[in-house]
């Protein structure tokens, strides 16, 4: 579909008839605020709206035209479009308005006409049908956008479903599976119905089901009892086999068992004998060395040597003392002679007598009085003093040659050695006897040990001949044999009892199974259960198919959108578009190449992203329907800078896609056109403006004119 001409007549500010002829690529219509940009866009929307005409359409009448009309005069409001879509076509939507005598306005003759050329003929058709056929609502809603904020196609929840139904590889999945409990698809309906039928059938069988349940419970308890019976039987069987084997082994090793017991008895006796003999061996000689003074055994030669030495010492000492005494006596005599002293007379009384005589002042030697101060008295005092002096230790007395009695001590010790010699000789005899005894005992222990070793060897030979029967089994076998016979017999009885019980349980089980089979003969529930399961599985398969289809489509749309984003944003950073499915349908997310979300991108980038998605959808539309459709925008680039906008439009020109954009861009601040930038554009440009003069407060003075300013 390529628009060839758009004509507006008496549509609000478009007084009279105004037309534009868009180019095959981009066409820009420049208008300032209030010049009629949105009115132009809404006129096209009104034309494409195939819903029945409503009274509010009266609001579209040009006030200027209405004001100048005389009472009773009539005119029409009309919007038409000529386009190519499998041949030339024309659609015109109009109604007639009439001004009454009282000034009241009436409307009638609503028309929606279509014309299409077929060969050389021009055929009139329904305008509604023609629009629905050539520019269906499902296509239209991705091609007409008012304002920058409305170009996000994923703004509503149905967007993804609509896009998938329109453009995906497999369309119309929702009637099969919707995932919406309030608007179920067929599969959800079918599963629900199948489950209801299953419940109904089961409900009809409820009585037999109750009985079936009881039977199942009984069967279960019988089966449990059977399981226990089998388990017990197996245990008894194992025990019985074990007892039987043991008894058989015993029979085959009876002789060996007897021999082993003899051997073990002998071994026990020998071990006792050995222990007793070993206990008699004295092995603690170190204690006897000190406690029993065995250590003296080797001391006799040493003692003899000691005694001889001491005698030598003593003789030597006597000799030395004798010489010294002689020398000392001579010195004393010589000294007394030199000092004129004589030894005290032997008749001189002792000290006590003399003190008594002095005290009584009488000489008891001669019996005469010796009063104090007399010569006799003084004589006695002098004699006493002489005596006392002789008793005082003499200063400078030379030390004795042997001041200590060590030699005497040594001599006394040597005399005691004789006493010990006898004891040591007796000790020698004792030691000899005990060592001989130990040697004899050790010989006996060794002899017993040899016998033990021989017996153990005999025992090992015996055990090696008993084919793996352990020693304890052989040894204890006969002690336990009666127990084993008794246990085996008991086990046999238990097994017999369990067999009878099992037969009873098996019969009981069979009866219950027969009863259950009788009740379960109606297979309807089984069939419905299978149908219900099959439909559930098919429902899941439709669900997964739908999800896969959606995923595949979103990947295609995403890739195409990113192609357009690269083209539309040549210079700046633009990131990567990701279309993410969510509970509200889907959303467009911008990330960098590492997957990091770009939060809050600037409005110009966001607009470029949304427009890229739109171009991608437009391309998909063209591919699916094998026809191009025009994109019509009202002021989509408000947030763009002047240069960005120029670049953006020049890129769109190269996309070879018909695109009509109504914008206030390319106007200077004073409202005049920025001719320099306009000349840089490679597209057709129209100027839209209010004709002057007009009254700012009077709508009936407003008239929009459309002028081609760049071819």
């Amino acid at each position: 579909m390529v628009i060839k001409e758009i004509t507006l007549k008496n549509f609000r500010s478009y007084y009279g008839e105004q037309s534009i002829v868009p180019g095959d690529n981009l066409t820009i219509i420049i208008g300032n605020n209030g010049d009629g940009k949105t009115t132009f866009y809404e006129a096209i929307e009104w034309l494409f709206n195939t819903a029945p005409t409503v009274k509010s359409d009266m609001n579209h009448i040009s006030q200027k035209r209405l004001t100048e009309m005389a009472p009773g005069e009539s005119d029409e409001v009309m919007v038409s479009i000529d386009f190519d879509h499998d041949g030339s076509k024309h659609v015109k939507k109009s109604f007639v308005f009439k001004k009454g005598v009282s000034g009241a306005v009436s409307v009638d003759q609503f028309r929606f006409d279509g014309f299409e050329e077929s060969g050389s003929e021009r055929r009139m058709v329904s305008g509604r049908d023609l629009i629905d056929r050539c520019f269906h609502f499902d296509v239209r809603k991705y091609h007409l956008f008012k304002g920058e904020t409305e170009i996000n196609v994923f703004g509503n929840e149905d967007a993804v479903e609509n896009l998938i139904n329109r453009f995906s590889e497999v369309k119309q999945f929702v009637p099969f599976y919707s995932g919406d409990e309030y608007n179920k698809g067929f599969m959800e309906y079918a599963v629900e119905m199948a489950n209801k039928n299953l419940e109904r059938v089961r409900s009809e069988e409820s009585k037999s089901n109750k009985k079936l349940y009881q039977l199942s419970q009984q069967l279960k308890s019988v089966q449990d009892a059977l399981d226990r019976n089998n388990s017990d039987y197996r245990n008894y069987q194992r025990n019985h086999q074990s007892y039987s084997k043991r008894l058989e082994d015993l029979e085959s090793h009876r002789e060996a068992s007897n021999e082993l017991r003899d051997i073990n008895e002998r071994l026990k006796n020998l071990q006792n004998d050995k222990s007793q003999k070993a206990a008699r061996i004295i092995d603690d000689f170190s204690t006897k060395l000190l406690d029993d003074r065995w250590i003296l055994y080797g001391m006799i030669p040493t003692l003899e040597k000691y005694r001889k030495k001491v005698i030598d010492f003593r003789n030597e000492k006597q000799k030395i003392i004798s010489n010294e005494n002689r020398k000392e006596g001579r010195k004393e005599v010589l000294k007394e002679i030199a000092e004129g002293m004589m030894p005290i007379d032997p008749l001189v009384p002792d000290r006590a007598t003399m003190e008594d005589m002095i005290h009584s002042e009488r000489c008891k030697v001669c019996g005469t009085p010796a009063p104090k101060g007399s010569d006799a008295y003084n004589f006695m005092v002098a004699k006493l003093q002489q005596l006392l002096d002789s008793l005082e230790p003499k200063e400078n007395v030379e030390e004795s040659v042997f001041p200590n009695n060590y030699v005497d001590e040594l001599y006394r010790l040597s005399t005691s050695v004789d006493f010990y010699t006898k004891e040591i000789n007796e000790l020698k005899k004792t030691i000899s006897e005990e060592i001989d005894f130990n040697a004899r005992m050790q010989d006996r222990v060794r002899a017993v040990q040899e016998k033990i070793d021989q017996t153990i060897e005999q025992k090992n030979r015996l055990l090696a001949q008993t084919d793996g029967v352990s020693e304890s089994e052989l040894e204890n076998a006969y002690e336990n044999i009666s127990n084993w016979h008794r246990d085996r017999s008991k086990t046999e009885k238990e097994m017999e009892r369990l067999k009878i019980e099992r037969d009873k349980l098996e019969n009981q089980k069979k009866e219950l199974q027969d009863q259950r089979a009788q009740l379960s003969k109606n297979p309807e529930a089984n069939v419905y259960a299978k149908i219900s399961q099959a439909l559930t599985d098919i429902c899941d398969a439709f669900k997964y198919a739908q999800e896969k289809n959606t995923r595949d489509f979103l990947v295609v749309l995403e890739n195409l959108s990113n192609d357009y984003l690269s083209k539309l944003n040549l210079e700046g950073f633009h990131g990567i578009i990701r279309i993410v499915k969510n509970y509200r349908g889907a959303s467009v997310v911008l990330t960098d190449e590492h997957g990091t979300n770009i939060t809050k991108p600037n409005q110009a980038l966001l607009t470029t992203v949304y427009m890229s998605v739109l171009f991608a959808i437009a391309q998909l539309t063209a591919e699916k329907s094998e026809s191009e459709y025009p994109l019509i925008f009202d002021a989509p680039t408000s947030s763009f800078s002047a240069q960005t906008e120029s670049d953006f439009y020049n890129v769109i020109t190269t996309l070879k896609k018909q695109c009509i954009i109504v914008t206030k861009s390319f106007l200077l601040e004073n409202g005049s056109m920025d001719n320099e930038r306009i000349q840089e554009l490679n597209c057709r440009v129209y100027r839209m403006e209010k004709k002057k003069p007009f009254v700012a407060t009077d709508l009936s003075t407003i008239q929009t004119a459309l002028t081609l300013i760049k071819e």
Partner: protein, 88 residues
């Protein structure tokens, strides 16, 4: 290829359906034992599916055909239940 054929292929590509409704005995080369192996459905068009020996494939084809032709959910359901009762 029609939209119905594409939808059929997408639904039949579900491996769980193979495992439940399209298995065949095959010998495992490592163990030498016969085992159930899931096989992809061979039908790729509605025409083939409606004539299939596999009741699940026929049921899916009947659903796609019935719902697409807007017979109404009840009519399609009766048709497939009637078919499944005799064939499942």
């Amino acid at each position: 290829m029609t939209n119905q054929d594409k939808m059929l292929q997408l639904v039949l590509s579900n491996e769980r359906l193979w495992k439940e409704y399209n298995t065949s005995k095959r010998r495992d080369p490592s163990t030498g034992l016969l085992e159930d192996k899931a096989c992809p459905f061979e039908e790729s068009t509605m025409k083939e599916a409606l004539r299939s020996d596999n009741p699940i494939v026929v049921t899916i084809a009947k659903i796609i055909e019935g719902v697409s032709s807007k017979q109404g959910d009840s009519a399609v359901y009766k048709d497939i239940i009637s078919y499944l009762k005799s064939n499942i």
